[in-house]
């Protein structure tokens, strides 16, 4: 009799992997001493850790290593955010994720008139190298991986991070983490774009090129479906539009002559975990397989690691209700479970109070504890891709995959991703889905539990200290006074010259930061070259 597929998988995939990547325990057993196999491989199926990776990118998945617990946080000031970071790290969080305020995200210093009322509201303000130093005070840059949700100003934040590493004597090669740097989805769904589409893509590609060459442990982009889903898309649209953006970035990299096998290894993705447990699980599995096919079919990529879709997940913020916010703990738990059953590499769980305000430290802790309970108590980590082979899940996975594939082909027909970002096709599709979802809520066919439109919503549990704005203005005034303004000017002229020449701007940005230019000054210099985005919706 032929060897079963499980035995084949065990011999060819699992055993060689475990030899170099031991599992967390010698064996996994239930309370009844039933030993759990590493996975199940039925019929002629493939196992986890082998192409097309529908079943996960690693043979052992969470038997080997748990996902990274990475809570997104930032507010008020670098000092207060640093305190929240250390609070979360002390409670077992395993990676950092920085939320920046809107002025920082769009490229305005805290003392810019356009920043008025926005400083420190939805994230931490960072205008100078000193700010970043304070943000990561007592946090070893070479030992904690750092994720930064920053897009328009991603090149500037990477320059700041590199300059900080140099200041602290940490080689930039040692920096670990991810920068979002996904500008296309800003135009589609998130709204922090600063420059027109073309130059924005050039800047994003500068970061990818720079990190691929100089930051070997850093992911220079996180191609994000999260915000596309938050803006109202369906699960299929989330997969299709995210992977379509991925195609656009690879095309940019290819046009610049970068080695796609190298770039591919550095890409990461970011998805939403929404309400429908099984469709979400199917979505994650489908996205992985479809990306594997795309990298082969469209880009002739061969390197297996370069073709694996690695992703972060965040539970769906727009599913949270302001009414009876404690119910959100249960929503977050089910959503987080879908991400784990779908094979995520890292996870953020939302705070229960986030329909009301930023989370308090107590609710941020509860959100982290939710992940820890799933990881350490529920047992869902002990068999890789535990739902693999389940007819319902496999069928739904295949259908999400083919519907997303079809939608990507529709984008091709309409001139490709960039054309469909510019002509509003993608936005139009998302808005239509958002409308249908709202109608379903309003007509009672999809009513969230515990929502009574007539009932009072609770008070906001968290408020940002508004005096921070004036303090930051004073600090920046002092900073500007104490620096060599001729050196700043010279460094900014160099940024401008590199941009105009079409060179990679990254080295000039690092030098500008080291000469005490601010984020806002650099962003403005780039806008003088590239122009400003205008929302002509």
């Amino acid at each position: 009799m032929n060897m079963s597929e499980f035995e084949r998988w065990r011999r060819d995939v699992y055993d060689p992997f475990v030899a170099t990547h031991p599992e967390r325990k010698a064996s996994f057993e239930t309370s009844s001493d039933l030993t759990l196999p590493p996975t199940f491989v039925e019929g002629d199926d493939v196992g986890p850790g082998e192409p097309p990776y529908r079943r996960g990118i690693h043979p052992t998945m969470y038997r080997g290593r748990l996902w990274t617990m990475r809570q997104y946080a930032g507010f008020s000031s670098p000092k207060e955010t640093n305190e929240r970071f250390r609070y979360l790290l002390e409670r077992g969080q395993t990676g950092l994720s920085v939320a920046f305020d809107l002025p920082t995200q769009i490229g305005y210093d805290s003392d810019d008139p356009l920043a008025l009322g926005e400083v420190g509201r939805v994230g931490v303000p960072i205008s100078t190298l000193d700010d970043l130093d304070q943000l990561f005070d007592q946090i070893p840059l070479d030992r904690v991986s750092i994720s930064m949700t920053i897009n328009s100003t991603a090149p500037i934040l990477i320059a700041l991070l590199c300059a900080l590493a140099k200041r602290r004597g940490v080689p930039i090669e040692a920096l670990r983490g991810t920068v979002q740097n996904d500008i296309l989805k800003e135009f589609i769904a998130r709204g922090t774009q600063r420059y027109p589409v073309g130059p924005s893509l050039t800047l994003a590609t500068d970061v990818i090129e720079f990190a691929t060459e100089s930051m070997p442990r850093f992911h220079p982009i996180s191609i994000s479906g999260y915000h596309i889903r938050e803006a109202g898309s369906t699960a299929v649209e989330e997969v299709a539009f995210t992977l379509a953006n991925g195609i656009a970035y690879l095309e940019q990299a290819k046009a610049r002559g970068l080695d796609l096998e190298q770039v591919g290894r550095r890409l990461s993705f970011f998805f939403n975990a929404h309400n429908h447990l099984f469709e979400e699980i199917a979505k994650f599995r489908a996205a992985r397989e479809l990306w594997y096919r795309i990298t082969g079919d469209r880009f002739a990529m061969k390197d297996e690691r370069a073709r694996q879709l690695r992703f972060h997940t965040q539970t769906g913020g727009s599913t949270l209700t302001a009414h009876e916010p404690e119910n959100n703990v249960v929503r977050v738990t089910v959503q987080a479970l879908s991400a784990v059953l779908g094979g995520t590499q890292s996870l953020h769980t939302n705070g229960a109070d986030e329909a009301l305000s930023l989370p308090t430290s107590e609710s941020a802790k509860l959100a982290l504890r939710t992940q820890q309970i799933l990881a350490n108590e529920s047992g869902v980590t002990e068999v890789a891709d535990p739902l693999g082979g389940c007819p319902y899940v496999e069928d739904l996975t295949s259908r999400v995959l083919s519907a997303a594939d079809e939608l990507i082909r529709e984008i091709d027909k309409r001139g490709g991703t960039v054309a469909c970002v510019e002509n509003g096709f993608i936005r139009g599709r998302i808005e239509e889905s958002a409308y249908r979802a709202q109608v379903a809520i309003d007509d009672g066919s999809q009513t969230p539990v515990g929502v009574d439109a007539g009932a009072e919503i609770p008070d906001a549990p968290f408020t940002v200290d508004t005096s921070i704005e004036a303090q930051r203005c004073d600090q920046l005034a002092q900073f500007r006074q104490g620096r060599d303004s001729a050196a700043v000017e010279k460094a900014l002229v160099e940024v401008s010259a590199r941009s105009k020449a079409g060179d990679n701007v990254m080295p000039s940005l690092i030098s500008a930061i080291e000469n005490n230019a601010t984020l806002g000054e650099i962003a403005r210099t780039l806008s003088e070259v590239h122009g400003e985005f205008r929302d002509d919706q």
């Binding site: 809107l102 926005e118 922090t192 002509d536």
Partner: protein
């Protein structure tokens, strides 16, 4: 002026002041107001209070709806209300939505925001609010 308009469609300006990019909500409102027969102008992202007032006066609207989910509503919404008064146009109806803490609602009402719509508001409630306030007489004619 309002009486001349009783037979004409309600004209509304929707705006996103500040740097907030969350426009799912305001775009839904845009759509339902248009579906309800209103004439709606939308500023797009990052309109300054000055630009909002100029657009409102140029377009001769009867109502201005503002949205913010970034916590900067106090700054921007109150400035719109102040500039409107400065232009002698306080008869323009103000309403707003987004993530607005309950504690801030009285301050906004005092500044003239008669409608404050938090997350979870059915879209119909906003349509009804505008009809009730701007076309009260036509109410009995609707089926």
């Amino acid at each position: 002026m309002t009486s001349d308009r009783s037979q004409s469609p309600i004209r509304v300006l929707l705006a996103k002041p500040g740097l907030d990019g969350h426009d799912r909500g305001i775009r839904l409102v845009l759509r339902v107001l248009r579906d309800a027969g209103m004439e709606v102008i939308y500023t797009g992202l990052r309109a300054t209070p000055g630009e909002i007032i100029r657009a409102a006066l140029d377009e001769d609207v009867e109502a201005i709806g503002l949205s913010s989910l970034s916590g900067a509503h106090d700054q921007h919404f109150l400035e719109v209300s102040r500039l409107l008064a400065e232009q002698g146009a306080s008869d323009v109806l103000l309403f707003c939505g987004g993530i607005i803490p309950k504690a801030d609602v009285p301050r906004l009402k005092e500044a003239g925001f008669d409608g404050v719509f938090p997350p979870g508001t059915p879209l119909d409630a906003i349509v009804q609010f505008l009809k009730d306030r701007l076309r009260p007489s036509s109410e009995s004619e609707s089926p």
